[in-house]
Symmetry: C2
Subunit: 223 residues, 2 copies
């Protein structure tokens, strides 16, 4: 699949590298066409790079791996026409460190960042996922022991099915992919980042994840 | 120990009953001295009942099991002099259903309900805990399989130690009691209720709980 990864930070590079290793054609998008991180990544891993619009244009699926505070501007820069009809995998979190630690987790329009993006790009199929863990665990769930979970939120069932396939290719078993429902459920996972930050401070490592244990249950089907 | 449980709802009755079964002297507090639920509970379980102030006055430890939207008013009714120096176990959540489901989880003063209560009663030792699960799991953790967790937040280490002892007496092993730090960490667990509500809708049961799985770890010491 042709995939654009928007964002050249640690999350974007980790996801882009994993996607290349799985055989996808990956373009890393950034504000400028010659972002140093993107150029370096593309050389090392055999991907492409360019502006947000360059990357998104030919892509079949777009990953938003930019900081949540700038995601809306990034997608506007990528261009609605380059996002139309496509699955947008939103892994971002809107952390406001302006008043120090712990950061505030912003809720744009009183809801979630994912809903804000969906509202701004109504013809794009936004799926929120992977936003509740560190980037190493996203692409290598076995780093953490146990039946820990990844969550999915989105209004488009077909888009969620595509993303669930992608998650399975990352190593997430179907029974550990929990589809929380429509995109408003992203409010719940975006806020979970507050607990993640506390636990990160406590454990001194990001190699942890959340699990949900249920009485009398042996797992749940993914979408 | 002499314990006041403020609130006559399902959570308050469940906790009060467990505390009586563990040998504590329990008084259930409510708005009026002759609340029907409190009278019935006291008759059935051998506890006492009375107003919020009646219950809190002689107590060594006070449990806030009222709805988060009314907790501040309830504690004012209990009276600062009846709460002074005491451990207040705050299990409440501030759920605003005024705009339907999912409810908003209110963040008073931009923080947590627990911090709001601490600020209003600076001489009371507020500990937030048990607010991330349904009441049956609070007092019977083995209803849910696996090494799921209960969280603790509070500014007073001594108070947290008292509450950790209480949790152990409920059946929570030390390694599953996660002390998140000061009371501002209650923001993280109060917001977790958003995810809880989604999962409740998905599973159709409240008999589930959250776990944290960490790479290379075999558990954590309680405070």
């Amino acid at each position: 699949m042709r995939i654009a990864v928007l964002g050249t930070g640690e999350v974007g590079r980790r996801l882009a590298t994993k996607l290349v290793s799985l055989g996808h054609e990956v373009a890393m998008g950034s504000r400028t066409a010659d972002n140093a991180e993107a150029v370096k990544w593309a050389e090392e891993h055999g991907g492409a790079h360019g502006t947000f619009a360059d990357a998104a244009g030919p892509a079949e699926l777009v990953v938003n791996a930019t900081g949540g505070l700038v995601s809306l501007a990034v997608l506007e820069s990528a261009g609605a026409e380059n996002l139309r009809g496509k699955v947008l995998v939103d892994v971002s979190n809107a952390l406001d460190f302006s008043e120090g630690f712990p950061p505030k987790v912003l809720t744009p329009d009183g809801g979630s960042l994912a809903e804000q993006l969906q509202k701004a790009f109504p013809e794009t199929r936004v799926v929120k996922t992977l936003n509740t863990m560190t980037n190493t665990v996203m692409v290598e769930p076995d780093r953490v022991p146990g039946d820990h979970n990844v969550f999915l939120s989105g209004d488009d069932e077909g888009a969620k099915a595509v993303v669930a396939d992608l998650l399975r290719s990352f190593g997430w078993p179907s029974g550990r992919i929990l589809d929380l429902g429509d995109l408003s459920s992203a409010r719940a996972t975006e806020q979970l980042v507050q607990l993640w930050l506390r636990l990160y401070g406590m454990f001194g490592t990001g190699d942890f994840n959340f699990s949900v244990s249920v009485a009398g249950s042996a797992g749940f089907a993914a979408s």
